[in-house]
């Protein structure tokens, strides 16, 4: 990797100030950024580590029945602390990468990166989460803007993610055989006012909501309701050596059914 300076502020304000400098970049758990640096694919002059900021860590339940997760909270903590209130999310977090990745990688880093095969984007979009930054609150529906693209501005950091707790939910991840990221992942969440279905791994446009399934499931929350739907169009889906667009489209439907059947 190329040389860089590293700072470890202990408050959000200090971090924001440090990020104001030219070519500074936030560093979460480093599970994406460090490999990128090792391959010399990025050249930040300063990394602002977010790991020492206590106010960005932890999981708690809010008065309006949402789970509030600090942007610097690692996956292992979410797996443990969301288990009682939001098992669908805990299960998702528990199946990201391996123990080392889960102990380092953070929800903020994952959402900021918005890898088209990452798991958290499905949960954030599938719950209609609110992404809180040092500047503003962004609705998940506005936040995701395509592969690796988000509404975040330069120097803006995710401080918290609020996910409304569903009545029932489940995440079905079909692993890409090598990376074990999601070849396709489907997050289904049932709320009193309807069902949300978010799909990761599949589309060339990144995470998306499968609106036909949402409509069908909102009136009949059963795997059978998905059966009647036609498979999403594969032409806009990712096609690579691990799976064609048609295969991914097919998996979207299979996994949605399985998620509904497994939702708790």
């Amino acid at each position: 990797m190329y040389n860089f300076d590293l700072v470890r502020p202990t408050s959000i304000d200090e971090a924001v100030a440090a990020l104001g400098e030219e070519e500074a970049q936030p560093l979460g758990g480093g599970q994406t950024l460090i490999p990128t640096l090792k391959q010399r694919l990025a050249m930040p002059s300063k990394l602002v580590s977010l790991t020492a900021i206590a106010e960005m860590k932890g999981v708690c339940k809010t008065d309006d029945n949402a789970l509030a997760i600090g942007g610097g909270t690692n996956h292992a903590t979410v797996a443990q602390e969301a288990a009682a209130d939001f098992p669908g999310l805990a299960h998702l977090a528990a199946n990201i990468g391996d123990p080392a990745v889960r102990s380092r990688g953070t929800i903020g880093g994952s959402l900021a990166n918005n890898d088209p095969s990452a798991c958290y984007p499905a949960a954030a979009l599938g719950t209609g989460a609110t992404i809180k930054t040092n500047k503003r609150e962004i609705a998940a529906d506005d936040y995701f803007q395509g592969m690796f693209a988000t509404a975040l501005e330069e120097g803006e950091i995710i401080t918290e993610v609020r996910l409304p707790i569903p009545e029932a939910s489940n995440y079905q991840k079909f692993e890409q055989p090598a990376s074990r990221f999601a070849l396709v992942g489907v997050f289904v969440a049932k709320y009193a006012d309807g069902v949300r279905v978010a799909v990761t791994g599949a589309s060339n446009d990144g995470v998306f909501r499968w609106s036909e399934a949402e409509a069908a499931l909102s009136s009949d929350f059963s795997a059978g309701a998905v059966d009647g739907l036609s498979t999403p169009d594969g032409s806009g889906m990712i096609s690579d050596l691990h799976g064609s667009g048609d295969y991914r489209a097919h998996l979207v439907k299979v996994l949605t059914k399985r998620a509904v059947a497994a939702a708790s």
Partner: protein
């Protein structure tokens, strides 16, 4: 005690060291202060080098040296890498084009070394590499073997810009073996003929420890430390290419984290680093990063075969014919041409009594990384073809797959049996081994399990492979046993552990034969100054050759010690007996251990008794064999294949350490399963490697594998005094066809007629989808 000694599941003495980070791998042992080497590699698959400008790079901070092909030539280092070439069927030699250390006029695959940058730190070397101006004029890229899709033709004319001008149609060698006329006659008269095309795709070895090499020039000698499968070929090649006397080169290999064949060969990087060290008069280190290894480590397999079996009316095989095309990569690597020719032919006809067979095998150059030995080296490939075809034949002929095999097994009374491929199998009891396998696997209970799977919406299939292996590598080996000043003993071996547990086995064996406590025995390997020659590890040879020669050394030692004791006691040598732990002198109560006698000899000034060396050659090869019985479940909705049941019964002859044998089988199966279910190399049409990291290259993991049922049914080999057979590659040889046949079985009922590995979920789903479409 008999020559074989005790068969004991002794725990590995090296594991504490290896598991607690105390292993001495090459990159851990680089000389203090060594400079770092970094290779600039070809960014395109095929092109003419029109310029290499290193001026700016050379001036970059920390840079001490940059070597290109021109610099090597100026230093007189002009030799290319060597290959063991085979002959064409007309007797003429195959084409072995020059393989330079650093690319000269052309680059021929992505990852080919072009320049070596040596700097004080690795980052400085990488910084400088970015400043090298490399101009390349692109040439047409050949990714597929000629005749297989890139417009290349086959032996009848030139292709556009071939990989080498010497091979105008990219064909390296057109090899044949067997009796073609007799085979054709068998097919002409056959009652049934079954034919199958069998692809066997390209994979990467991915040793846990990558290739690594360091060299230090000290007082006119070159000291090399490297990760290898044996130091001696490397030593003589480095001496030859650098123009040094052999005794000016010292090569050491300590702990090795896996080789699998891939670390046998000499690679271009080694000569470049060695030359840099000599030129600078200092030390230079290099360790391949993972992606670098994936681009440039010799790969495995990569062939397509069309195979046919001829049967008589009783379903006995009368003839076998194989036509194989295989990929060598951009150059003929050290043993590359041998793989699907001579080595393939060793077990061409497997365990069957086949009166006529013919193999034709053509090797091609492509703009991809070299292919060479990979766990089994030609034998897994041959058995995969034959056992896939046997399975297909059973289906087409309407007979159970095990029954067809039994009908054609070489019967026990036919041994020694000379195959049409030219091998002589010493012993075998294939039907008995299969009986045990079928019983342990509950082969007959399959239909009930299939019904249960079906009820859950899953497709169940079962597969069988009966494999045979031929132990390869050098049939001879040396050993030296020395008594050390501290009162212990050392055994110097010519084999090289790559993690298999040699230290444990060789110390245990010597202890069993001599009574020297195992903790007083030091195993010394991989140092060309201490051990003059050796065959290294490869071909499942190590334990058989090393224990064989150790027996000889022990016999000499016992003879010499008896004579010495007799002289001391004033009796005849016959009056001194050795009972595997102690010497007893007739007429006295005196008993002496080996170490006692060594001490007496030392005190008596008889230093000549303190070291004994022996060299011996095995009379013949041994042939491990066995059956793998596998059941898989396929999820037809996703294409996911799950290995559900796995049974292996092997005939490895006598076992020295059953626990380590089982470990070899487990690892071997994992490697076979890896290829069958997930591993594969993918190049795009421009020759860029798409599977250049573990993000895209899938390796098998523990949770991909079920628990294995493993047992052995030993039929001791008559080719070595211990009755042993090797076990290092067998697991891989058996696993491939067994798992593939099981997947084919699961898919057959859905109309899938051509099921080829790797069985990734996507590919299996597509096979099912295509079969559905074909069925209308």
């Amino acid at each position: 005690m008999d020559a074989f000694g005790k068969s004991q599941p002794v725990r590995r003495r090296e594991d504490l060291r290896l598991l607690t980070g105390a292993g001495r791998y090459t990159d851990d042992t680089a000389p203090e202060g060594a400079l770092y080497g970094y290779f600039l590699r070809a960014p395109v698959a095929h092109g003419r080098i029109t310029g290499i400008d290193t001026e700016e790079a050379a001036a970059s901070p920390g840079v001490r040296l940059i070597l290109t092909a021109r610099d090597l030539a100026e230093a007189g280092v002009t030799e290319g890498l060597f290959t063991v070439m085979v002959k064409n069927r007309d007797g003429s030699p195959g084409i072995a084009p020059r393989r330079p250390i650093l690319a000269e006029d052309k680059v021929r695959f992505v990852g080919e070394p072009v320049a070596l940058i040596v700097a004080e730190t690795l980052d400085q070397a990488k910084d400088a590499a970015e400043l090298v101006m490399l101009d390349i004029e692109d040439l047409p890229v050949h990714v597929e073997i000629a005749g297989a899709g890139d417009g290349g033709r086959d032996g009848d004319g030139a292709v556009e810009s071939p990989v080498h001008v010497e091979a105008p149609d990219n064909l390296c060698v057109d090899f044949a073996l067997g009796d073609e006329a007799a085979t054709e006659a068998a097919f002409a008269e056959a009652a049934h003929v079954v034919t199958l095309e069998v692809p066997d795709h390209k994979i990467i070895a991915n040793a846990l420890e990558g290739r690594a090499f360091s060299a230090a020039w000290v007082d006119g000698r070159l000291h090399v430390t490297m990760s290898s499968q044996g130091v001696w070929t490397h030593k003589s090649q480095i001496a030859k290419v650098l123009g040094l006397p052999e005794d000016a080169v010292h090569v050491v290999t300590e702990d090795v984290g896996g080789g699998f064949g891939m670390k046998t060969m000499v690679y271009p990087e080694y000569f470049a680093i060695a030359q840099a060290a000599r030129h600078l008069g200092g030390a230079v280190r290099w360790a391949a990063e993972r992606g670098e290894g994936m681009l440039s480590d010799n790969m495995g397999r990569d062939l397509v075969s069309t195979a046919s079996l001829a049967f008589d009316a009783d379903l006995r095989i009368t003839g076998y014919r194989v036509d194989t095309r295989f990929n060598l990569g951009a150059y003929a690597s050290q043993f590359g041409p041998l793989m699907q020719t001579q080595l393939f032919s060793r077990v061409l006809t497997g365990v069957y009594d086949i009166p006529a067979a013919h193999l034709r095998s053509r090797a091609y150059f492509t703009n991809t990384c070299q292919v060479d030995a990979y766990r089994g080296a030609g034998r897994p490939e041959a058995i995969y073809v034959l056992e896939r075809l046997m399975d297909r034949a059973a289906r087409e002929l309407g007979i159970a797959p095990d029954a067809l095999r039994r009908r054609n097994f070489i019967p026990p009374e036919a041994f020694p049996y000379k195959t049409v491929g030219g091998e002589t199998y010493d012993v075998g009891a294939f039907a008995r081994v299969l009986d045990h396998g079928a019983a342990a696997a509950d082969w007959d209970g399959f239909e009930a399990r299939r019904a249960a799977s079906e009820a859950r919406g899953r497709l169940r299939g079962r597969g069988l492979c009966y494999y045979i292996e031929a132990i390869l590598g050098a049939p001879d080996e040396g050993v030296r046993v020395a008594f050390e000043p501290d009162g212990g003993a050392a055994i110097y071996v010519g084999t090289q552990s790559n993690g298999q547990g040699h230290e444990t086995v060789f110390a245990q064996f010597l202890s069993d034969q001599t009574g020297i406590p195992v903790e007083r025995i030091r195993v010394v390997q991989g140092d060309s100054d201490l051990i003059a020659s050796g065959g290294g590890t490869g071909g499942s040879r190590s334990v058989t050759v090393q224990t064989n020669v150790t027996l000889k050394a022990v016999a000499e030692l016992v003879g010499a010690f008896r004579a010495f004791l007799a002289e001391e006691a004033g009796v005849t040598a016959e009056e001194v007996v050795f009972d595997d732990t102690h010497f007893r002198v007739a007429g006295t109560n005196a008993t002496h251990s080996m170490l006692d006698v060594a001490e007496m000899a030392r005190k008596a000034g008889r230093d000549d008794l303190l070291s004994v060396a022996a060299h011996d050659k095995l009379a013949a090869r041994s042939f491990p064999n066995g059956c793998h019985l596998v059941e898989v479940e396929v999820d037809p909705e996703t294409g996911t294949v799950t290995l559900d049941r796995y049974t292996v019964v092997d005939d490895f002859g006598n076992l020295i350490n059953p626990m380590l044998v089982e470990g070899q089988v487990h690892g071997g199966i994992a490697q076979g399963v890896g290829q069958v279910l997930m591993e594969r190399v993918v190049y795009d049409e421009t020759g860029q490697l798409l599977t250049a990291s573990f993000m895209d290259y899938a390796m098998p993991r523990a949770n991909d594998l079920p628990f294995f049922h493993f047992e052995t049914q030993p039929v001791p080999s008559t080719s070595n005094p211990m009755g042993m057979k090797g076990c290092g590659e067998a697991g891989t040889v058996g696993a491939m066809a067994a798992v593939a046949n099981a997947v084919q079985d699961a898919l057959w009922g859905q109309g899938v007629r051509q099921a080829d590995m790797p069985f990734t979920p996507h590919r299996v789903w597509e096979m099912l989808a295509e079969a559905r479409i074909a069925a209308g």
